[in-house]
Symmetry: C2
Subunit: 166 residues, 2 copies
DNA sequence: CGGCAACTGAGACTCAGTCTCAACCGCAAA
DNA sequence: TTTGCGGTTGAGACTGAGTCTCAGTTGCCG
């Protein structure tokens, strides 16, 4: 998929324009991110890189993620867990998330009625919104069919790909 | 306000019924929580206790908060920061939060239309919701009037009462 | 060639939260 | 009254995610 390369190019442009350098580590990271993941966390990414070939330090992973966010190619999101996740920024815009607490699946949605209603609420409260953050936790269709039960709602623990701890 | 004592009693009942003990530490904590705070975090509470008279360890604060959550008197919530907050559970039920990223004010709201729309979305996606989590970040009326600008939306840092670091 | 700015990995550090452990009640049976 | 025994506590070790520092590396430009 040449999509990946388009992202590499866009990131390189961003870097150059900032006086920064398109290093092999940065390129490897963005390639990994845009060829596979969609919602992922830093540790997952670090693990994937280790799996591949490339040895990249935690520091560089975090530093590159920060750059990717600044460049607008990637967004940092909360998914109801106690660490951050990241997602691709597709041309389309804001969306919220349904998160399955059994299998970890993430379903995106954008609903204009919901957005509109939020704006109304803010107006009523004389509140100037800049940003919002909605996760609906529950059980996805597949897991429900299998009769899986969700975890306790206030102690959600999502299932991730196995990770290599430091 | 005898409200506080009603909560103390309810918590004691819960403890006894669980074979646990209404110790002075636990009572002091619940008194502090229900006489002052509404949304607060563990560190804030620890600090307040220090300010008062009582010396209570961090471990006990966290342990007691867990018990309070189990007892149903207190709820653990996300407010868009990277640590938990807690709030009183008033007889009324679920609500969401507007959080001012300038002054840290928290405005609660419950909107049935919003809730209904979320249920509709889940239905459409064949998703069984158990819980959701919505924070709208922005600037409250007071701060807007003062012309305060919000922080970058993805790096929110709320203002808290000064805290005594460990 | 030398300088210089950006870059990197290792690992120290932070912060919130959890866990362990030894000392400490307070009550009830012996 | 002594002993035993759960439950409780504080100190501090530990964890996990994330940040920061620093010394060594790289690549470019004069
Ligand atoms: Mn998403
Ligand atoms: Mn609230
Ligand atoms: Zn699922
Ligand atoms: Zn405000």
């Amino acid at each position: 998929m040449p999509q990946v390369e388009r992202h590499v190019t866009k990131f390189n442009d961003f870097l150059l324009q900032q006086g920064l350098k398109p290093t092999s580590e940065r390129t490897a990271l963005i390639r990994e991110i845009f060829s596979t993941h969609y919602h992922f966390d830093a540790d997952e990414l670090l693990f994937k890189m280790k799996q591949n070939e490339v040895k990249i330090s935690r520091a560089t992973v975090y530093r590159t993620l920060e750059l990717l966010v600044k460049s607008g190619l990637v967004r940092r999101v909360h998914l109801g867990e106690d660490h951050y996740h990241y997602e691709h920024v597709s041309g389309d815009s804001h969306h919220d998330h349904l998160v399955c607490t059994v299998c970890g699946a993430v379903i995106e949605f954008h609903d204009e009625e919901l957005e509109r209603r939020q704006r109304e609420i803010c107006e009523k409260k004389k509140f100037t919104p800049t940003f919002h953050n909605l996760q609906i936790l529950g059980v996805c269709d597949a897991c429900r069919r299998k009769g899986q039960l969700p975890d306790a709602p206030d102690r959600v623990r999502m299932i991730h790909a196995t990770k290599l701890r430091r």
